[in-house]
Amino acid sequence: MDADQPPDDRRWRRLHVLVLLVLAALIGAFTLITKLFDERLPP
């Protein structure tokens, strides 16, 4: 750990934002799938 380069904060921030964007994209895709295929009606 001591041999690490000084942390490149901006790069890590971008990576963290990317993970959250992937989450948003997954939730978006899941919402779309729900809209397309969830067609249950009350009996």
Binding site: M1, H16, V19, L23, L26, I27, I33, T34, F37, R40
Partner: protein, 552 residues
């Protein structure tokens, strides 16, 4: 289970155990044993984190859960990527800067030794019991469906795990977890391929999904703000975030995994890999359940999947329900055929959809009565039929060889979760309790002590699994027990990280009060146990602040 299955199963498991022992043979220092020599790259850490969280019950019950309730359970994991980002950005750099072995060491630098040891003790109790469950839960399912002797299965799983965990410590755990995850992911992918192959010829993916959707299985995201629905977007992003933050941030069985990284960057990347891959993996496992559901629209499903439990019900009542079930299933099949015909003509109307929903409600009513019959004949034990859906399907419909591989998947998951638990329990016992009391011993002494503690915890886990086999109700109590300790544990860490004015005495007393509050909530109120986390955490924060003001 054929000879080929036994060959695949024993070959896979023996190879992994031997690999673990082989990889761990170079462990000659306490540091290598406890932190794997800190030489792990990010993908090993990521796989190791995922293998630790995925227990056997994940693979046994998730497909069953989707089969019964649809894909909505995945929302529980929506908070996980956020938790990974928070850990990577805020908490992990602190652990790395302090060069800690366990998360609880941080609490001594921030508060004092008694707060550290109290929190470490809460971890030892909850994880020690959970390690027993991670052995016992698959053992009971496999013994029920395969007729394996239950106690022998407990001992065999425990002994295999103890062998390589004690030999190679954290390094062997991480290396074997990589192999175990490969078996798990490969086995599940093959299961999807074969399952698809078993569906009727000419059925297209879109049709299968529409059919599952007509039964309400395709509701993945529920945006409604209802609090009485367990899995919604909102509960996943709040309660789910809470649970994942507590689990990954304060449970040493996970902290040990990512602190074995060769650098802060590798540890961070491992966590973020988990943040990206976990939800797709969970939805894929749940999707197996959807394919199973579609399969059972064209083949009559059993009334209950736990056939051993079903055989213990009164024969007359069971017979009556069985014939009622056959009638409802035939009616459901007609509704399905009408729906598919309409789908192929163009679009089904509400007439076909309502027919599906009505047929589903009628068959579901029979199934619920069957579950009640099973529960009544097992002295008040809640029937958990979902755990048996996937394994029974595997045994009845998959070809020889694949059955062995999928049982290996389940046992790999059991071993990976148990190994991480035992390794971290031994580590915490040494680092947070033994070494502070005996600070002047040499390194070989600590290595021997760490191995001894790991064996000790392994025996506790196997012993508890054997004991739990005698008392089925205990298992439910233990599941709740996990939630009892997480709230106060997360609370004291959050106070440590974010509320600088609270000092050791106030934090220590606040944890004790929070623990008492959660136990009181468990004993005297009907509050759902997922809320114990919130209560415990909130009491630590509020009481910590109040006591600090009062003391000052």
């Amino acid at each position: 289970v054929t000879a080929l299955d036994w060959a695949v199963l024993s070959g896979t498991l023996l190879a992994i155990v031997a690999w673990g022992v082989w990889k761990g043979r170079g462990v000659h220092t306490a540091d290598a044993y406890l932190r794997g020599g800190k030489d792990l790259r990010w993908w090993t850490i990521g796989l190791s984190i995922m293998a630790t969280q995925a227990s056997a019950i994940t693979f046994l019950s998730l497909p069953g859960q989707a089969y019964q309730g649809g894909l909505g359970f995945v929302q529980f994991y929506f908070g996980l990527p956020v938790a990974m980002v928070l850990l990577s950005a805020i908490i992990l750099p602190i652990y790395h800067r302090l060069k800690v072995y366990t998360a609880y060491e941080y609490l001594e630098t921030r508060f004092d030794r008694k707060t550290r040891q109290l929190t470490a003790l809460l971890f030892l109790i909850s994880r020690g019991l959970a390690a027993g469950v991670s052995i016992y839960a698959p053992a009971i399912v496999l013994s029920a469906v395969l007729g394996w002797p239950l106690q022998l299965t407990n001992v065999a799983i425990g002994a295999a795990v103890i062998l390589y965990t004690v030999t190679g410590g954290a390094r062997a755990v991480a290396r074997t977890q990589t192999q175990q995850m490969t078996v798990i992911l490969g086995g599940m992918a093959l299961a999807v391929v074969f399952l698809w192959h078993l569906l009727p010829d000419g059925l297209r993916l879109g049709e299968a999904l529409h059919l599952a959707g007509a039964f309400g299985k395709m509701k993945i995201v529920d945006w409604s703000p209802r609090v009485d629905t367990r899995y919604t977007f909102w509960s996943g992003m709040t309660g789910g975030l809470f649970v994942q933050l507590a689990y990954f941030g304060t449970d040493q069985s996970q902290v040990q995994r990512y602190l074995s990284g060769s650098s802060l960057a590798e540890s961070r990347l491992g966590l973020l890999m988990n943040g990206i891959v976990k939800i797709p993996m969970q939805i894929a496992i749940l999707f197996v359940g959807i394919l199973l559901f579609v399969f059972y629209q064209f083949h009559a499903p059993p009334l209950t999947f736990d056939s051993a439990a079903w055989k213990k019900t009164p024969p007359a009542a069971a017979q009556a329900l069985e014939s009622e079930w056959q009638g409802e299933i035939a009616g459901r099949r007609r509704a399905v055929d009408d729906y598919l015909a309409a789908l192929r003509r163009g679009a089904p109307t509400d007439v076909e959809r309502r027919a599906i929903a009505a047929a589903d409600a009628r068959s579901e009513a029979v199934r619920v009565r069957a579950q009640k019959l099973v529960s009544a004949s097992r002295s008040g034990v809640e029937a958990s039929d979902t755990d048996y859906v996937f394994i029974r399907f595997i045994l009845e419909h998959f070809p020889a060889g694949l059955i062995g591989l999928l049982i290996a998947v389940i046992l790999c998951a059991a071993m990976s979760a148990t190994a991480a638990a035992l390794s971290s329990l031994g580590q915490t016992t040494l680092v947070d309790f033994y070494r502070p009391r005996h600070p002047d011993r040499d390194d070989p002494h600590y290595l021997r002590a760490a191995r001894g503690f790991t064996v000790g915890w392994g025996l506790v886990a196997v012993g508890f699994a054997a004991f739990a086999s005698l008392l089925e109700n205990l298992i439910q109590a233990v599941n709740i027990l996990g939630s009892i300790f997480y709230g106060p544990m997360l609370g004291v860490f959050l106070v440590g990280f974010f509320i600088k004015r609270v000092k050791g005495n106030a934090a220590f007393t606040a944890v004790l009060l929070a623990q008492a509050a959660v136990v009181a909530a468990w004993a005297f109120s009907g509050i759902g146990f997922l809320w114990y986390n919130v209560i415990g955490c909130a009491v630590v924060v509020v009481m910590g602040l109040l006591l600090q003001l009062f003391v000052e």
